[in-house]
Structures are given as C-alpha cells and as structure tokens.
Amino acid sequence: MTTLTEAPPAAPEPQTRAPRRRRKLTPYWLLLPGILWLLVFFALPMVYQASTSVQTGSLADGYKVTWHFATYWDALAEYWPQFLKSLLYAGLATVFCLLLGYPLAYLIAFRAGRWRNLLLILVIAPFFTSFLIRTLAWKTILADGGPVVGALNALHVLDVTSWLGMTEGDRVLATPLAVVCGLTYNFLPFMILPLYTSLERIDPRLHEAAGDLYARPATTFRRVTFPLSMPGVVSGTLLTFIPASGDYVNAQLLGSTSEKMIGNVIQSQFLTVLDYPTAAALSFILMAAILLMVTFYIRKSGTEDLV
C-alpha cells in the first residue's frame, strides 16, 4: 500500500502535498480507536500478567520481579492433569458440536427455504438468557433420577459411557460427560454460525454440476460440499475449542472436583488461593498451548488463505 502511494514521484506541488499527506494518514486515524482498545485491554494486561508470572513474594510482603521462571515448571508439574482434561473436554465438545452443528447448518443453508431466518434466530435464541442460567438448567436436565438419566440408563448408554470413564454408575451430573454436554451446548452456536456462513456461500449449481458429472449425493458432499465448507469448519472448531478449553463455568456447575479444568484452577489460584504468579503462569501456558495447536491445525487443514 505504501509503495502504491509513494510510487509516483509526485510533482511536489505545495497545494496537493498537504491533502495527500492527510489522506495517507487517514487509515491510521481510523485504526486508532481499535489500537487503543487493544493496547489498554489486551497488551497492557498481558505485560502485567507476564511480569506477575515471574514474580516471587507473598501477599503480606508484596511481590517483586525476580525472573523466577520455575513457577512455570512447578505449575505445569502440579496441574498437568487439569491441562489434559481441559484439552480433552474441549476437544470432545468441539467434535460433538461439529457432529451436531454440521447437519443443522447444512439444513438451514440448503433446505430450510423460507424457514431459514427463523431457524437462524432459534440457533442464537439461547443467547437471550445468561450463560449461567443456561448452564444451571443443565443441572436440572441431568439431575439424578431425572427422565434424561433414566432414558440413558434404559438404553444402556450409561453402561458404555461409564466403561469409557465418562460417567459413574447411574449418575450423569458431576461426571465428565455432564461437563462435555454443557460445553457442547454452550458453544454450539459458535460452530453453527460460521458453518452456515460458509455453506450458504456455496453455489447450489456446484451441486448440480457434481451430480451432472456422475457424483452420487454422498460423493458430491465428500468432494465438493465439504471441501468448500472447510473455512467454516476451521473457524467453527476454533471458535468452539479455544473458549471451551479455557472455560470454568461448566466444570464448576456440572462437574465435581475431579472434573476440574484448567480454567477452574486459574480462577481459584487468582481468587481463592491468591497465588498470583502461579495463576499468571498457568494462563500463559494455556495460551501458548492453544496457539501452538491452532497454528498446527490451520497449517494441517491448509486453509490459511480461506480463514
């Protein structure tokens, strides 16, 4: 862009110079609010937390930056099970979101006709109530001896899930399954909306063309529809996985102490234990882990230019 504006060795006419410079600066002025926002609410807290994570001391004596990187190793050594659980629960929730969300997004994009807008509103309708209330509702849904648990029990689903270690006995509440259900439910719209957007952009004539070129409907999906919806799949899974792996509300309300995710640990370190360096170190480890995984994932799915 700069090369473009600078390229013509502009005849230095004094009248045109000033407006041109102003025009050159306009984009930066427009960027300013966003940059300020990022600076105050993202960059500064990051620097502050980074410094907290390498401090030592105590609440009574105050903290000092001592470049104590061992906090990271200690935190990781102590809380690695919660890390793994977070990634596992978030990963499972993402997979379930994709499995549930893709058919729904497909239906809305291609088959809903005049119901399309209504269905889209229904997808985001849960957002009209608070996250907490919705999650609490799942407590009732999955309550011991409730109809859902009864039905799952009768269908022997619970036998399978408890064999997998996702439930215990006749309970669903306070098990990993409950946490994954809560995460899946809460993040489903974040999967559906990007999927819908990328599916809706696909020209229906491409489906006809594939059919015309001897592709059965299933092949058309595999060779044309799904590859073309990859941008939606990637952004949907990222929008689901990233917040889900840092979430603590679902584990807190639907899980027991053994389903603690890393979000719960960070929260209690910050607010209960008041061990700020450990909490800050855990936050950075989580961020680094997610960044690494996302980078790898985007590389692997080959959609850098599509996202």
Partner: protein, 389 residues
C-alpha cells in the same frame, strides 16, 4: 463417438413442467437428431432452460418422458444419465485446479489414469498450459472452455449447453461460437444449446426450436425459419419483419391476391400459414432487406408484377454496409427497409415520397388472429418478463 447400433436421438414425449399454477413448459414432443447442433431459442422465461434441465435430469418433468436413443431415462437421476451440461455460470469447482475440474467426471466413474485424456481435452480447448491453475485465475472465456472440456471428456451422448456464452462480451462470444461449432464438428456429439440470442442460434445450430411461453413455436433449419416463419413471434424474434394487415381478395392458382388499403399485394399460397378463404384477414410479411426503394418520381421504372406500397420516409440511419429506412405507409406505419449501400439515392431523405417494391415470391402470409407484435424485441428492460410475451 457413439458407435451404438441404436440411434442416439434425444426424444421428448409430451414432456411438460408446471410449478404450482404456473406452466413453465407445456407438454411438448421433440426429436433431436444424433450428432446435430440443436438450439433452443427464446426469450428468458420461455421454458427453454427448464426443457434442457429436464433432459439433464436436474428438473423432474411433471408429465412425459425423456428418451436417449432407445433408453427411457426419465426416472434416472442426473449422475446416472450419459448426458453432461455446460452451466450458464460454468459452475467450475473453485477448490480444484483446472486439471481436476476436467477429470472430475472420469474419477467419479472410477477411471484412474486420467492424465492423458485430460491433457488431450485441454489441448482441444487450447488450455493445455493452464492445467494447474485455479478457476478464478482464468478469464471468462477460458473458464467457459474449461466447462466445455469438463463436460466433453466424459463423451456424453448429448452435451447440454445452458446459455454458455451469456456472460462473455460480444467479441469473445462471436469467437466462442465458432470455437464451439468447431468442437462439435470435431467430436460429433449431439449439442443442445439454449440461448436467447437469435444470431447465435442461427450461426451455430443445424436445427433451431423457437420457444415462446412454454411452447415450441416453430422448428427447423435456421434459413428455413428465417424465410418461412409461421407465426408472428418467429417472424419478429428471428430478425425483424414488416407485417402488414391485409384482406384476401382472390386466389388464382398458386397465388393469393390481397388488398391492403388501396394497395394490392400478392404472395404464393404455399407460403401462407393463414387460412386462405377469400375475404378473410391475413398478415402479409416481408423481411426489410428484401424490399427495394424507389423515389416516387421513378415509380414508372419499377417492373410489373412486383408488390408495391407507397410511403414517406420518416427516418434513415446509415450503418456502413447498408442504410436502414423507416417508412410510414398509409397501410402500415413504421415499415423497415434495409438497402445495401451500392448506389445511394440522395433523394431518399426523411420526408421523401417513395415506393417500396419487392418480389412477391419473398412474401409470406401469417394468421391475422395473432398479436402482430409478438416477439418484437422491447427495450432492454424486459429481462425476465418474457413470460408475458
């Protein structure tokens, strides 16, 4: 390409399509001979694309059957029909490169070694060097050729082209018309070409079916359709025609004598598609380029036996090879006359009194019961409202 013993004609029997109360295609019978270049011509909304889509299997006919050769394919889904389509917007797969786009049909039929065939096909459409490009990197004309290659590589019994040149600019379109014609001659596959461009249909096709409001108005070779239109729609839609309301005065032998105002016209009875009862009404048609003009002062030099009308020039426009005149005659306003610029008569300016004369053999007669302006091209705003025509 098709060395079957059975004829590979496409035959439509009473095929029709209705959407709710709207009839897109009235039940029609049509036979498209094997190896021909067949055009379905009509304004938008006339049912030509629906007809094409029913052959492709993309649209299910409400009534009737589609036969390819001896096989009834009406119930077959598109992926089981030996028919391929070149879509209006090409519908190339944006995530695949040109080579894979062209190979798509072969791969779906389980053919593994596609490279040689794809190469040959890309050479046929002169895109051999673009194999690794993505569709969006190609120009409209190149994309169009990829779409043709992608369809042709499957050696379909019939290639369906849905307004394939609609998105191209005029010059490129002319070029692609010749190109498509060349490819069709080379591969010998039946081409069914849907278009709203009468010039395109006439230059490319062996046979043209002119469609209007869900019906085939007339079917024939381009020259035959042009010279012998049987309805006012065909007369006006294919080129332009002067249609003059007249009364049948007498019939002697093979010639009809008609009266239009105080003018007397004659036409061969064989070229009249209207009922030829004496005293009945008919429309006398004559193409603008078949009329000669003489200044009223020279009226005496016009040989006998020619149809003649008098009139006054209201407008002229010079377009290089010819000059177009608009002439108001007492019997008919706004007659069009195209005169080759061989010897220009300077007196034929607006306001001049003239005599129009032509060989009666070139006259055709149409049923006066039809709308006289059916198929007249309206100002560019009529896209999509052709249904009403």
């Amino acid at each position: 390409m098709t060395d079957d013993t059975t004829r590979g004609d496409v035959r439509l029997f009473g095929i029709g399509k209705t959407y709710g109360a709207f009839t897109a295609v009235h039940p029609l019978d049509l036979t498209i001979p094997e190896g021909s270049f067949f055009a379905l011509l009509g304004a938008s909304g006339c049912g030509k694309t629906t007809t094409l889509r029913m052959i492709a299997g993309l649209e299910e006919p409400t009534t009737g059957t589609v036969h390819l050769g001896e096989q009834d394919v009406t119930a077959l889904p598109p992926y089981k029909r030996p028919v391929n389509t070149v879509f209006q917007s090409y519908a190339l797969f944006p995530h695949l490169d040109i080579q894979e786009n062209v190979a798509f049909g072969l791969r779906r039929r389980g053919i593994k070694s596609v490279k040689k065939q794809v190469g040959e096909m890309l050479d046929l459409v002169q895109l051999g060097d673009k194999a690794k490009h993505k569709p969006h990197q190609l120009s409209g004309g190149q994309q169009q050729r990829v779409a043709v290659a992608r369809a042709l590589i499957n050696h379909p019994r019939v290639l369906l082209l849905d307004e394939p040149l609609g998105a191209l600019d005029l010059k490129l379109r002319r070029q692609m018309q010749l190109e498509l014609k060349r490819i069709q001659t080379e591969v010998g596959i039946t081409f069914v070409h849907v278009t709203h461009d009468q010039e395109e249909a006439m230059t490319m096709a062996d046979q043209v079916a002119v469609m209007n409001a869900g019906r085939v108005e007339q079917l024939g070779a381009p020259a035959d359709l042009y010279e012998n239109p049987r309805t006012t729609f065909v007369a006006n839609f294919l080129g332009s025609s002067n249609l003059i309301e007249a009364e049948i005065a007498a019939q002697n032998g093979g010639t009809l004598a008609l009266k239009a105002g105080d003018g007397k016209l004659s036409l061969p009875a064989a070229r009249c598609s209207a009922p030829t009862t004496t005293g009945g009404k008919a429309l006398v048609g004559i193409r603008p380029e078949k009329i000669s003009l003489a200044h009223a002062d020279d009226a005496g030099e016009i040989p006998d036996g020619r149809n003649r009308l008098t009139g006054r020039v209201t407008a002229t426009s010079f377009i290089g090879v010819s000059t177009q005149y608009v002439i108001d005659s007492p019997v008919c306003e706004g007659l069009e006359v195209y005169v080759q610029n061989v010897e220009r008569d300077g007196r034929l300016a607006p306001g001049a009194e003239v005599v129009l004369h032509w060989n009666p053999e070139h006259t055709f007669g149409l049923d006066a019961a039809q709308a006289i302006d059916a198929g007249v091209e309206k100002v560019e705003t009529d896209a999509g409202e052709g249904v009403a025509a």
